[in-house]
Subunit: 353 residues, 3 copies
């Protein structure tokens, strides 16, 4: 006698979120040098601090820290089964702060607090705002960020019981930027080995940099990456199911685009070794396998980090495009994003002074 | 002056196997956190015990053990050059027992004993039964399983000298299921972190679970996986040679399907963290790149493990399909496997009580 | 106010190289077990010494050394942004010597000395000869090799100020072959575990070995490999830009072919565990995704290594083809390479005696 039961996770709908509740996400994850190698192999990232134990030790780290975006993707991946399995769209990020370096051997886990709820005018979905917090095995916060997603309602038309749109900063204040970076010895920071002669003081607000190179993405690559992060969003993996969707094919995880663009940005920003904060991020348009990603950056602001003589911060807008070289720095026409733009990402990076 | 010699391995034919002989397979392999990362990236597996050192330590492991199927694939891969290079088909598995956990840093090697030989009626091939045993660097057995394969004869028509069909159990007895699992502290097993509230006592024989998600497979993925296991079966790698074969293209290693289905089964069986035994396995039909794999499970039996209060065992039938969602639990029509079914795998899993 | 600046690396042109200058290349790289796993997964290499800590320790290594070609690719990758970003062609290698084993945890960095310059008759490019040296974190040389590349001139027609073609040995002398290999205990070298009964004394000059198996290459695979080596040559990654090139598609890194052929050569040369030297190498013709690689070897010379009773050296010509099985050992017709030949690689390997 067979009995069909439902022990599978169907994900939460808009009505299932309660303001103020904290969700403990599944599958803690020990980050290892294996993950670091895969991250290098998937993006070709070349920042010396994350690439070399010897380089990292010389400037003050105990060993090479794990790439900040690898930390982000792992912390983020855990939230998917609980937050965004029934999401229509990932709307934005704010107030992301990297607060402790992560090293191989650390175990990451994630919780999310529901910090806002707002139904849309159509009534069949609502916006869920969460603050997700990644911690290491010592229960220290390594990453904190806010995200909001458009989530389907279980029963379209149900009115929301509470509505609250949280206040989130447009950008993280410079005071908060140094926590994820130990005190460094800038004199020991070797510009020949790092691959760029340009330090913090060499960049100016308004400066634009075309990162020149293009990187074509394959299905196997983004699937391998997204599974590495234990991100289960089915749109990235199920070509059979995707036939019936708007695009007719698998969609590439937005975080994959961020990592590709960041790796390309080494060419021009080779000393911007640490992402201290994520101010905002928008996935303007989807990326598909076979597309080629290009990127450019604009320096939005240069800031001292209070109390730090070793490093300074650059607020950078990182723009990624598909099948469109960035020598003309494409962004917007009037208020519309230009064709080909896929990512508009606003973050703070630290550079040695 | 050139001389053409034959130092290459042409594999054994049916006549080359002797009943009772033990074959020492080549290439011992140290399993590392690099392999673990690749395994995660290839399948997206999310069982907390194997994913997190912190979680594993809390319940009683020294560190996170290596996924049982990764151990299986590595132990199995070594047998290919000696056992199945001239195989026509992999017919079955039985009496597979995982007897010691494997941890990163352990070195695995494999031997196989020929435990049965039987020629087929056609006379151009025969069935070879082997018991393959994987050992760690301390010479401790970590895995033992029986397998039988249809192997071509060197000279079709040669009669077999001996014939013996070994007796193999239909399923492994519950007494043998605890050896690969140290004593655990079920109270320290955190269901929020593991991702499932369902423990051993929550499952009933007869219960069926659709694992919902689909995973599309790419050529690069199965090749990377199969090479990781140092499995040299050329049908998986040589598209040029495959043009002349029945399918005209590369075949995906059957073990890749088992791992995909097992990873999908997390959704519904999130606490079935350890494969204690493989009772039987059949690759019903081949998988090719581009296909999307779905899976469902049936609980065949729930058993206590003698002497263990910490864990219980579920005997599970894991069925995988291609391009066929499993909400209707497809398996057989009359005695024939239904179209789309590719794997029928019978195993024992342990869950915390 | 935006300002467009040029902080990106545009690479050196022929005129930018000065005879005798030493270039320090960017991005030191700690090699880990993660890299080793990926290397295994990308090529399926099975040499026991590099695969097993237990095997390596038994014969005299502290742990399993990193595959020599993985070391080569990482050391080589660092030179690309400085040496060959504007290269038209990679012309050759000589005098490559592996001088210290590399172990997981070692950090590699590379410098190159310009040892020769020669303009071509056309006047729009010139040949740059460099000696590249890879060092570990103790500043010990692990690899030294000469390479020459055809590099575009910034201003076609500019005459070269100096011209010097360096003298390079046709092959590395046997005296230099033992440095990368510690003293071994050949009695502890287990031929069953290594997968080949043939030791150094079993090979004869003139002997040819077809390695039989074929390996089809996917775009995702060669991109993952080439990024793992932090090799930034855009021809391997940018399908969009490649549309306008002679081939219309991405080119596979030549080193990927060497590693594929070397891994295939295990079948026939299973005890040739260490590459001691690279005498010469020519990428005869390009490889593209979808092609299937085959390989064969010729023993050019067998030599004792002075002072060593434990190992002997074979000078091997390793030939790779695409979409062409090697049972007839294709190489040249008259003086022309035969159709399908893609690699002609001359190296010294060590085998136990």
């Amino acid at each position: 006698m067979s009995e069909i039961t439902s022990k599978t996770n169907t994900g939460r709908f808009f009505e299932d979120f309660r303001l103020g509740e904290t969700i403990v996400h599944a599958t803690p994850r020990t980050v290892t040098v294996g993950d670091v190698s895969l991250y290098t192999a998937l993006y070709g990232t070349r920042f010396a601090v994350q690439s070399s134990d010897a380089f990292a030790k010389a400037i003050g780290y105990p060993v090479a820290p794990v790439d900040d975006l690898l930390v982000f993707h792992i912390v983020f991946g855990k939230t998917v089964p609980d937050i965004s399995l029934n999401a229509v769209a990932n709307l934005g990020y704010a107030d992301g702060r990297f607060l402790k370096p992560v090293f191989p051997g650390d175990t990451l886990s994630t919780t999310s607090e529901v910090i806002g709820l707002k139904q849309t005018s159509g009534g069949d979905a609502g916006i869920v705002y969460v603050r997700s917090i990644g911690r290491n095995q010592h229960n220290e916060i390594v990453l904190s960020y806010a995200r909001w997603v458009l989530v389907r309602k279980r029963r379209p038309g149900t009115p929301a019981e509470f509505e609250l749109v949280p206040e989130l900063p447009k950008s993280v204040a410079p005071e908060a930027l140094g926590e994820g970076c130990p005190p460094l010895h800038p004199a020991a920071y070797d510009d020949a080995l790092s691959g760029s002669p340009f330090r913090w003081g060499d960049y100016r607000a308004g400066e634009r940099i075309d990162h020149v190179d293009g990187m074509t993405v394959e299905e196997a690559e983004h699937q391998i990456a997204t599974r590495l992060y234990q991100n289960t969003a089915k749109v990235h993996f199920d070509a059979y199911g995707a036939r019936e969707t708007r695009f007719g094919k698998r969609l590439i995880y937005g975080g994959h685009v961020i990592s590709l663009a960041r790796a390309l940005s080494f060419n021009g920003l080779g000393n911007a070794f640490h992402i201290a904060a994520i101010n905002a991020g928008r996935h303007v348009s989807p990326l598909f396998a076979g597309d080629t990603v290009f990127a450019w950056s604009e320096v939005l602001e240069a800031a001292e980090v209070p109390g730090r003589e070793d490093v300074g911060a650059l607020r950078l807008r990182l723009v990624a495009t598909k099948n469109l070289p960035c020598n003309e720095h494409p962004l917007k026409h009037a208020d519309q994003y230009a064709d080909g733009v896929i990512l508009d990402f606003d973050y703070w990076a630290l550079l040695p002074r």
